[in-house]
């Protein structure tokens, strides 16, 4: 499927790369012993690596071209039944509701089917589901590439830890406060980046995320510095005393509840006047404004609502681990959450859920893999970008049914 011509071009690319990386990767000068080490093996690695990658990319383009000509010929014959199975199920309440009910039943029975360790791992994964759905509002729906999402997670976690430490407030009192504080941070950090888009926005938000972490690390009087805050109480249940096991199970149900609420809210938001405005903003900022949408307000609500979920999960995270320090809120966290959104499918709720479960559970169960976790993340993302840019589950727009003349829309 790849012609000789293509092979030649890949070969040329690899030769170029070998040449360009020669001074840094092959020659190594030791100024003290005044010797020069020639690392020819590196040159071989670069050459083979670039060659393979180049072939891979070419194969992808050929594949895509073929797909495209395929769909065109399908259209010509009036064939449109090429809807993916998942989308079909999502659209048909007949299949969707029983499936959702079965999933819910499984989720509710999970703690009795598996041991506490598994339950704890699942709780973590579900927390990432919520984080993913929150970031999905910002990145997937509104199209604002935010690399500092973890900052709002930290705001939530530290709200609980600090307000509890100083004012002895309980989990349930702080939960809404953490959400509100994170939303406020979302707006405050959103203001300066209103004019930025794409890479610029990504870099500045990344900076903000790091600033918050560095402040937490260095302002010891406020946050107790790198040593963190310990002995954070677990959430209470009408003042009942709980042993560790039941606390974990309780936490699990709490997070399941949160996931359900999140799905409900995010789904409704996406399918509303505000949600449409977000998507329009993502698609074309100028046209969006010209159609009468206030860009500032729309962007800030996206930042604020995205941050809200991070704040809520942050409070829960602090309560779950009972100990937090700034090291939990590094850029790595932001990267993981972003990977969840990209892998799952930007803008698709089901996609994000699946993405979170894969990315959090897989390394947990494949311990051997977890050493290479970052490597695997990178590889997965690159492969996704090349072969399936729309993510595991592509987002589909809602369709409306009309009888003869204008009638009520129907999902």
């Amino acid at each position: 499927m790849i012609s000789m011509e293509e092979l030649k071009r890949s070969f040329k690319a690899s030769v170029w790369f070998m040449f360009l990386t020669f001074p840094i990767l092959v020659i190594k000068v030791n100024p003290i012993e005044k010797t020069v080490i020639w690392r020819w093996e590196n040159m071989a690695f670069v050459g083979i690596g670039v060659f393979m990658l180049s072939i891979l990319i070419r194969a992808f383009y050929i594949h895509r071209e073929r797909l495209r000509s395929l769909t065109i010929s399908k259209k010509r014959f009036g064939y449109i039944g090429d809807e993916p199975l998942v989308q079909f199920i999502l659209r048909e309440p007949k299949y969707l509701y029983p499936l959702a009910a079965a999933t819910l039943l499984f989720a509710l029975l999970f703690p009795s089917l598996f041991d506490t360790y598994q339950t704890n791992v699942m709780t973590t994964a579900l927390m990432y589901v919520v984080l993913g759905l929150g970031l999905n509002i910002v990145v997937g729906v509104a199209g604002l590439l935010d690399l500092g999402y973890v900052a709002f997670y930290a705001v939530g976690a530290y709200s609980y830890a600090l307000l509890n430490l100083h004012f002895d407030l309980g989990f349930w009192a702080i939960l809404p406060m953490g959400a509100l504080l994170a939303a406020m941070f979302g707006i405050v950090l959103g203001f300066p980046v209103l004019r930025l888009r794409g890479d610029y926005l990504a870099i500045v938000t990344l900076g903000f995320g790091e600033i918050i972490r560095l402040v937490l690390e260095n302002w010891s009087e406020f946050s107790q510095g790198p040593s963190g805050i310990s002995n954070i109480p677990r959430p209470g249940f009408f003042g009942m005393e709980m042993d560790l096991n039941s606390a974990i199970v309780y936490m699990y149900y709490l997070v399941v509840g949160l996931v359900i609420i999140t799905i409900f809210v995010v789904n409704r938001l996406q399918d509303s006047r505000l949600g449409r405005a977000w998507i329009a903003l993502r698609e074309d900022e100028i046209a969006c404004q010209a159609m009468g949408i206030d860009k500032t307000k729309t962007k800030l609500t996206a930042f604020a609502l995205g941050a809200t979920w991070a704040g809520i999960v942050g409070v829960i995270f602090a309560a779950k681990t009972t100990f937090i320090n700034p090291a939990s809120f590094t850029f790595l966290e932001s990267a993981i959450i972003l990977s969840i959104v990209v892998l799952g499918g930007m803008g698709s709720i089901l996609g994000v859920i699946i993405g979170a479960l894969i990315l959090i559970l897989l390394p947990e169960y494949l311990r051997a893999l977890s050493e290479y976790r970052m490597l695997a993340f990178g590889a997965i993302l690159v492969l996704m970008m090349v072969f399936r840019p729309q993510g595991i589950i592509a987002n589909v727009r809602r369709s409306y049914q009309f009888k003869k003349s204008a009638k009520e829309g129907d999902a």
Binding site: R268, L269, S272, R276, A277, E283, D284, M291, Y400
Partner: protein, 262 residues
């Protein structure tokens, strides 16, 4: 004498040394179709961008007069504020929301005339459901008007070129404008589509809207417009009825001569 609704005086837009628009005057009366013509690079699109808030003009005044409202100065307003005031536009290089459906594109146009927000989206009160239903019905009837009702649930990117142009008009109409600004709506259309566009524009005018039209298709311009303004190198070089413009030697030199080989 018909009532004036838009009056532009002495409008200039400079980009560094370039005078893309240079001291242009223009006015539009109620229910009128006014055409703005001129060779490529004459500054027509830039003029539109100044009117609709995408650029803040270097100099000059843009004033809007509306029945029962105070006169409004549009200089320095944001594009969405201009749209709220009742001026809506289309784009020369189509700018639809590609990954949204045809209906959703039009629904976006209803945004500035509706109010649901976060709480409304989440709790879906009776008021919000009614508003949502109105948005859908209104958008659908606009699609019927422009002849796209068969494509409601198609993605905008899947429409044919001519249909995309009509969807841009539909989207602008959804904002309830009293003045519609069309930037080369017939560009890239075949004669049949151009004919349909001609009918559509006339129909919109008959609904009581005024239209400012940038167009290259001279046949369309001459047949449809009440008055024509001609720009060249940023300056207004002529204005008048189609008859007067057709006979104007300056215009023939600047525009028609060039259009022949364009």
């Amino acid at each position: 004498m018909a009532k004036q609704i838009l009056n532009v005086t002495d409008l200039s837009m400079h980009f560094g040394g370039i005078r893309a628009v240079d001291q242009v005057d223009l006015d539009i009366n109620e229910g009128e179709i006014v055409a703005l013509i001129g060779p490529n690079g004459a500054g027509k699109t830039t003029f539109f961008n100044c009117l609709t808030g995408i650029y803040n003009p270097t100099q000059g005044d843009i004033k809007l007069y509306q029945e029962g409202k105070k006169e409004a100065r549009l200089n320095g307003l944001k594009p969405n504020q201009v749209t709220e005031k009742g001026m809506a536009r289309t784009f020369q290089n189509i700018r639809l929301f590609q990954k949204m459906t045809v209906l959703e594109n039009v629904m976006i146009g209803r945004h500035c005339r509706t109010t649901s927000f976060i709480a409304g989206a989440i709790f879906r009160t009776r008021h919000n459901r009614r508003e949502e239903r109105e948005i859908i019905e209104r958008s659908y009837s606009i699609l019927e008007k422009v002849g796209l009702e068969k494509h409601v649930n198609d993605l905008a990117s899947n429409l044919s070129y001519g249909a995309q142009r009509r969807l841009e008009i539909a989207r602008a109409l959804a904002t309830d404008p009293f003045l519609l600004l069309l930037d080369e709506p017939a560009a890239g259309m075949n004669p049949q589509e151009t004919k349909e566009l001609d009918d559509l524009i006339t129909k919109i005018r008959d609904d009581g809207l005024a239209i400012l039209l940038i167009e290259h298709d001279m046949k369309l311009v001459m047949s449809i417009s009440d008055r024509i303004f001609v720009m060249d190198y940023g300056k207004k070089i002529a204005q008048g009825t189609p008859q007067e413009i057709g006979d104007n030697p300056d215009v023939i030199k600047a525009y028609l001569g060039e259009a022949a080989d364009a």
